[in-house]
Every structure is written in C-alpha cells, then in structure tokens.
C-alpha cells in the first residue's frame, strides 16, 4: 500500500473535508485527562498525546449502551413488545488510536464476532469505523507492547497508520477503508519515504524496555497454575475495584439490565467486572468466586492462560500499561505474568 505525506499545515484542512462524510472521534481533554470523544465542529484531535486514560474500546463498546426499548402503556398498540433501538451506523473516523489499542480491538472481536454468535451492536459500530492509528515513538516506562505480540508500529486493527515526522505525517493506508479516507481528506501526495518508516519502527521498538515473558504459559497445566501458592500474596492487596477491567482495552464483559421509568423501559448493557462479587453471584445465593483470591486469580488466569489456550493468539493483553498505572494498590500484571510463566509446580 502507498504512503502519503501529510504536511501538518494541511492537517486541519483535511480533517474538515472529512467532517461531511464522517463523524470524527479522537483524543481530547475532558476535565483533567484525555479521552476518546466525538469531536466538535472545529475541534482537532490531540493525536500526539501519549495515550488516553480510558481506552478507545468504548468507541465500539460503550460503557452503557441501550440495546432494546419497550412500552408498558397499554393504550399503545405495541405495548409490552421489545423493540430494537435505532443506532447511528454512519461512518466514523477514529483518529489518534495507538497500535496497542487497535490490536486490542482485534482481540475483543474474537468475542463479539464469532462464527456461532455475532453481536450486532459491536459489529455495526466496528464496521462503521475507520481507525487511523498513530505510531508510538516515545513510549512510557509501563508500555510493554513488544512482548504481547504487538508493537509501537503494529498495524493490526488499523486502517491507516500515521507516523509523526516533525513537520509532516506519513500515512500508510492499510485497508481500502483507510485509503478511501485518505482520498476523501484530499491527502494524496505520495511519499518515497517508506524506508524511513522501517528505521523509525526499529528505533521505537528499541525504546520499549519493559518486557514480560509469556513463552511457557501455554505449556503449563491449568490446575498447576490455578493451585499455585503465589495467589495469596498476589491477591492480598487487591481492593476488588473495577479499575483494571474498566481501563483495559481488551476486557469485554458486560451485564444486561432493564430499566423502567414510568411506562417506558429500556434494556441496556453496561460494562461489568470479574473483580466484583456480584459478577458470579447465582440466583441461589451461591457464589463460585466468593473470595477476593478467587476473583484476582480469575482475572489473571483468563487474560494469561485460558485465553492463550483457547484462541492461540497469545495473551489477552496488549501491553498498554493502563492497569499498571491506575491500579490503586499497584498490582502489576507484568509481575504476575512473570510469576505464572516461571512457575514450577512442586510434584
């Protein structure tokens, strides 16, 4: 695919051209921190930001999403009939998404778009989106994407990869969707700098010094890891809050709720978290993951062992480092991953 040169002086102009065909989404400052938001009329995305506090998974999988609606008003013909709500499926362009978060979308896709089951809400939003990524040249110390099958110039999940080259961007069209967007924006100057991308990529990868070892996880026996003695120590400090799961770009669990106000009702889904006791509480009152240790172990076993075994696509983590930075008590997935990878059960 060809590489396009976008002069930074033509950046805003191109974005403005896109506005009639796409809704623009990108990192903007909300209160204290950046978040992916729908952009206002003249608003520009802050694409050079290291990364947002919350991941862009909400662009296709919002924290709260109305799925169906109903009326209890018996004077209406369609009362007590559950109906699909209208969804905006018009094209949207997501700017400034980092390669780790784009790869995360592909991991989440494994759950929402399978041969047996297709989640219409997720798929519709995903297919409406064109993801314009921003390669990372200046990672944080908590970034460890190179050991999760990803990398600062990784292209999985992206339609366009942009590279910051000082006074201009290089934009590599990856999919047809991406090429179409570049054309619509009027960014058509081809660049012969393709080799520069390779050298910058090498430099960027070398800057990521935080690593985790995952190579042994696949061969460990599930029960050996499950019964490993280190969980007591690992789980002790955990508050069982939902921070790690909510900030994670790959956590996909949700809960379905009906909410009725007067005679109108909606069925919605909300992010849920395996850290919450309610997550596994049965209607009998029995809770198979009753204690904090059960829940902490579940989260790491799912991400690092069950997922690895089931999908054979590596671990369910892209190394974005959000959970590491935001855990209130500093439980670090890198430490836990190393413990699991190096664990030798005493026979």
């Amino acid at each position: 695919m060809k590489v396009i040169k976008i002069d930074k002086t033509k950046w805003a102009e191109g974005l403005n051209k896109l506005r009639s065909d796409y809704q623009l989404i990108g990192p903007v400052k909300k209160d204290k921190y950046h978040d992916f938001q729908m952009l206002g009329k003249d608003q520009l995305p802050d694409v050079e930001l290291l990364n947002t506090r919350m991941s862009p998974k909400s662009v296709v999988f919002p924290q709260s999403e109305v799925m169906l609606e109903y009326s209890l008003d018996e004077t209406k013909e369609d009362h007590h009939i559950i109906k699909e709500v209208e969804k905006d499926a018009s094209p949207r362009a997501v700017f400034g998404i980092r390669p780790c978060d784009a790869k995360a979308l592909m991991l989440v896709k494994l759950n929402f778009d399978t041969s047996d089951y297709k989640d219409p809400y997720w798929i519709k939003a995903f297919e409406a989106s064109t993801f314009i990524g921003m390669a990372c040249d200046d990672p944080a110390s908590t970034c460890f994407c190179t050991s999760t099958g990803c990398g600062p110039y990784n292209e999985e999940g992206l339609d366009v990869l942009m590279i910051d080259v000082g006074d201009h961007y290089l934009a590599k069209g990856i999919t047809e969707k991406g090429e179409k967007l570049l054309k619509t924006a009027g960014w058509e100057d081809t660049s012969d700098d393709a080799s520069l991308i390779e050298s910058k990529k090498g430099e960027a990868e070398a800057k990521i010094t935080s690593k985790v070892a995952t190579e042994n996880l696949k061969d460990k026996a599930i029960l050996d890891l499950y019964e490993a003695p280190f969980w007591e120590d690992t789980a002790f400090s955990c508050l069982n809050c939902g921070t790690c799961t909510y900030v994670c770009p790959t956590c996909w669990c949700f809960d379905i709720q009906d909410e009725t106000h007067g005679k109108k009702g909606i069925r919605m889904r909300n992010w849920d978290s395996c850290m919450f006791p309610l997550f596994t509480l049965h209607t009998t009152g029995h809770n198979p993951r009753e204690t904090q240790i059960h829940r902490v172990r579940q989260r790491f076993m799912h991400k690092l062992k069950y997922f690895t075994d089931k999908y054979e696509k590596g671990i369910m983590c892209v190394g974005c480092g959000r959970c590491v930075r935001l855990c209130p008590v500093n439980i670090d997935i890198r430490t836990v991953c190393d413990k699991m990878n190096n664990y030798a059960a005493s026979s």
Partner: protein
C-alpha cells in the same frame, strides 16, 4: 520518616519469632514511582521487603476486616483511627491485634506531583523533607510539605491514637489548622452552584468503586449499589445513579470517616471524593464535637443516644 523502616522490621521480626502474631500487615515497594503495595509477612524473610516512606497512603485498616488471625499491623495516625473504628464496629478484636504505631508527617500526593511535569516521572526519592523527582529531561527537588496529599496537609492526628509499639518519638501535631475551608466554600454556594459543583466533580466517574473499596468503612457484605433484590440504584453511567452512589456512601460514612484520603488516592479518574465525606465530618464535629476513631471507649454519635440531646424530635 525513612529511618522508621528498620524499627518496623525489628518489631515485626520479634513479633513473628515470638509467635505473638500470625502475620504482619505492612507495605512493600511498588513497581512505579510513588507507589507502595500493601502486603503481609508470615515469616521473617518476607519482612525484608517491607518499606516505609511517603508513599504509604493506602489505609491498612482496610485489610483487617473480619480476619481471624492474630495480626501485627503497621499504622500511621489515620490507620490507627480506622482500627479504633473497626474495633468499635466489631470488625476485628483488639486482642487479635498488635499495633505498630508510626508517627506520620504526611503522604505525598502522586497525582499532584505527576501533573507538575509534562513527561513521565521515572524516579522519586526523599530525604530530610525534600522530594526529588526525576524524569526525561527534568530533575527537580520539592519541599515535601508543599506536595502533601490535601488530607495530610490539614491532618491534626498524625500520631497513632492506639498502639502497642511505637517506632519513633511522637511527631508534633499541627496546630491552628483550618480543616474545613473547602467545605465552607461549598456551603456558601447557592443550591444551583452546589449542584453544578457536584456534577462537575462526578462527571468523569466510571463507577469502578475504587473509592468505596479502598475505604475501611465500606465493609458492608453487600453494598446498596450491588443489591439486586430489590435493586436500589441503576448500574449505567446515568448521572443520577452515579450521584446517588456517592452521596449515599458519604452519608453512610458520617461520624466514621477519619479523612484518611484513601478514596481520593485510589480514584483512577482523579475525583476529589473527599468533597462529600468532609461535609459530614464537619457536621459531626460541629453538632456533636465528635472526631471519629479517637477512643475505643466511646460510641460514635450516630449509633448512640444521650438524654441531653439538643434536638427535640428525638426525645
């Protein structure tokens, strides 16, 4: 405060060796600057990883709830007050505990310090009341007193109120502190402005419940927001539900909150959750001359009755 750690290790080792306790609850060094992780030690080897510095802001009383073991616990002033509250509320027995008291000069505010620099902080060290912050392209020394957590800056109970061992001489308590300037500012607002202030405070809340779960007072077997039969509160991002959670939680902490700041420290979105709890702390102080967690002899104002109560409705 750095010299405390040798004494903490010495006392902890002795307690374990003499089998006076089954475990010690303390802190170990975290993987990030300005972060320590609560941990336990069941043998003297584990004690070697214990640390004490200005990054021990999580309230360790939270780790005592309903435990059955005999426990040694490292406790600064606020932790000790929450231990008192735990004892009063039957969440732990006094006999189970050996409290290793730590006179405290405050914990540093990692969010405030992080916000002071444009790029990532890679190392933070402290020495003699100075905090040195290093990162890519900067190396700056700050006065610790200027970068304290807000609750620490106005703390008037820095010394443990209950302890079995004390790791150092008591520190001087702060006098003439105006504890409630921020609350008065909100009290003076019109109802509309108050509402707007609360809305602004909570607009980034993601309902992760880190504030609740970091709080030693929030030990209900099932929190009202988690109740399903009946379900009191919706679970979406609806602002009404989010407000209901925060307001009710604050009311449930009335007369019990020690303003330890764990909720604010834990919040991943940087919300000043104390704005709610402090108003009730102030009310309890003004109405009942009550400060939570100072004595195991006295019942808190909201679970007791006095014939001389100034309010007529209760008589």
């Amino acid at each position: 405060m750095l010299e405390y750690i040798n004494k903490i290790k010495e006392i902890s080792t002795k307690l374990l060796e003499e089998k006076k306790v089954d475990m010690i609850v303390g802190f170990r060094k975290g993987s990030l600057p300005m972060m320590n992780e609560p941990c336990f030690a069941k043998n003297t080897e584990d004690i070697q990883s214990f640390v004490w510095d200005s990054n021990c802001g999580i309230n360790l009383a939270n780790y005592l709830t309903n435990r059955k073991e005999k426990i040694g616990i490292v406790a600064k002033g606020c932790d000790s007050r929450n231990i008192v509250t735990h004892i009063i509320e039957n969440k732990i027995n006094r006999d189970q505990l050996t409290i290793i008291g730590v006179p405290c000069k405050g914990m540093i505010d990692r969010k405030m310090i992080s916000d002071m620099f444009d790029s990532e902080i890679t190392e933070v060290t402290e020495n003699n009341g100075k905090i040195t912050v290093k990162g890519n392209g900067f190396d700056k020394t700050l006065e610790k007193t200027e970068v304290l957590q807000e609750n620490c800056a106005i703390c008037i109970h820095r010394n443990p109120v209950i302890y079995d061992e004390l790791v150092a001489k008591e520190v001087e308590e702060q006098k003439d502190v105006d504890r409630y300037e921020d609350v008065r500012n909100i009290e003076a607002m019109s109802p509309e402005d108050k509402w707007k202030t609360f809305d602004d405070l909570l607009k980034t809340c993601i309902r992760c419940y880190a504030c609740r779960n970091a709080c030693p007072l929030c030990y209900c077997p099932t929190c009202f927001v988690d109740e399903a039969k009946p379900q009191w509160v919706g679970k979406s991002q609806d602002p009404t539900d989010t407000r209901t959670f925060h307001f009710l939680r604050a009311f449930h902490c009335a007369g019990r909150c020690t303003d330890c700041g764990a909720c604010v420290r834990a919040c991943p979105m940087g919300i000043n959750v104390r704005a709610f709890t402090k108003k009730l702390e102030k009310d309890c102080f003004e109405l009942f001359n009550w400060e939570a967690g100072l004595s195991i002899e006295e019942r808190p104002p909201l679970d007791t009755f006095k014939p001389g109560d100034p309010d007529e409705f209760i008589k």
